[in-house]
């Protein structure tokens, strides 16, 4: 009986993972894309996030919002992984690939192109803070929780990021 119950619990957790994280992988992808600005890297980040989340899924049972828990893994992975690659010489911090110019409105709007260009200059944490708050509607406190820092640090990242964007924009 106990074995059967354990199997049911595992199945339940598996279904929960599929519902909460796996089917929401586009949300994770958009978060990663906002931080990394590269489709291939965002894809890798999502895959890594899915695997890490899957491995530690049971430990997330105590969290109210289990997707937010997965998003935190994704954000931290994006930042740490890119830093590791930068240290190894794959990228320079200020010369990141921008493969976002797909057939979208940013490709035809000069202001958006300008914004995309300046956005690439932001630090990873500034991008993460802006992505989570401006792009996904998280509050400062929620963003701080996701990034593993204080709300004041998040505000600083946002303020500095916005300042850089305002100063760099040439199109009004």
């Amino acid at each position: 009986m106990r074995r059967t119950a354990s199997r049911e619990l595992t199945l339940q957790e598996e279904l929960a993972f599929e519902e909460i994280v796996f089917r929401q992988r586009h949300r994770l992808y958009v978060i990663a894309l906002g931080i990394l600005r590269d489709r291939g890297e965002a894809e890798d980040a999502v895959q890594e996030t899915l695997i890490r989340t899957w491995r530690a899924w049971l430990t997330s049972a105590g969290y109210g919002d289990r997707f937010a828990w997965a998003a935190r893994i994704c954000v931290n992975h994006c930042i740490s992984r890119r830093r590791a690659l930068t240290r190894r010489g794959f990228f320079t911090q200020r010369d990141l690939p921008a493969t976002m110019h797909a057939a979208s409105m940013s490709a035809i709007d000069p202001a958006m192109l300008d914004l995309s260009r300046i956005y690439a200059r932001l630090s990873l944490r500034q991008r993460a803070a802006l992505t989570l708050t401006k792009g996904h509607g998280y509050s400062i406190d929620e963003c701080a929780e996701l990034m593993g820092c204080s709300p004041g640090t998040v505000r600083t990242h946002i303020a500095r990021g916005l300042t850089t964007l305002r100063e760099g924009m040439t199109h009004d």
């Binding site: 599929e18 992808y29 489709r39 894809e43 992984r81 976002m100 409105m105 792009g135 916005l162």
Partner: protein, 232 residues
Amino acid sequence: MTDRIDDQLATFYADISQQPLTATLEDMTMNRFKERAARRVFATFATGTLVVAVAIAAAVVGLAAHLGRVAPGHAAPHGTNAPGPAAPVSSQPTPSVPTTTLTFTGAVSGTMRVTSTVCSPGFPAASAPPGQPAPGQVPASIEADGLLNGASYSLAISQDNPAEPGAAVPNDETTASLFKSKLGGYGFYGPIGVEVTTFKAGHIAIFDIVLTPDQGQGNGATVNAVGQIVCP
């Protein structure tokens, strides 16, 4: 009053949110994901185990060598100052090191480190079709990690074990998957079609691997690479 930059950022992020998933993520099913996750766990475990085993073996060999050097000889005969014969130091031959890397040359170049190899007994001689290699240990399953064209990939090749009753003829049942397991530099993003042709000779298997990169990176071109693995 809303800052203009806020409006532009809203448009910017709305634009990002419209970006479709990559084909790899889009096509991924839950079952396939679970297989990969399990394989990843196994690869990590195998690598960790290998590292620990090598460390222990090195420590044992080092300790044995140390003890051999300091081992006292037999006691000298009484009444003489002649030293006794040297203590015997056993030396074991270094085992031949099997190939542990897959080397790719050509349009896709790089080296992958084999993390797991399962060898099968090969064909029973009596049932070997004409022209097929002699019996011997042949790779039945290979997993490898490494850099191809500067990007990090994992490769998994598996084929039917010919020793199993009812198994299909090898080479017809060889399957392979190549996927990006980690962030890499620039390379072949997205889905990569892999076709594998296996040539076996004794305990050596040569994999002729055809990679078909996705439209975004390879312009639809198909490239060939050859990997080779030797079972111990």
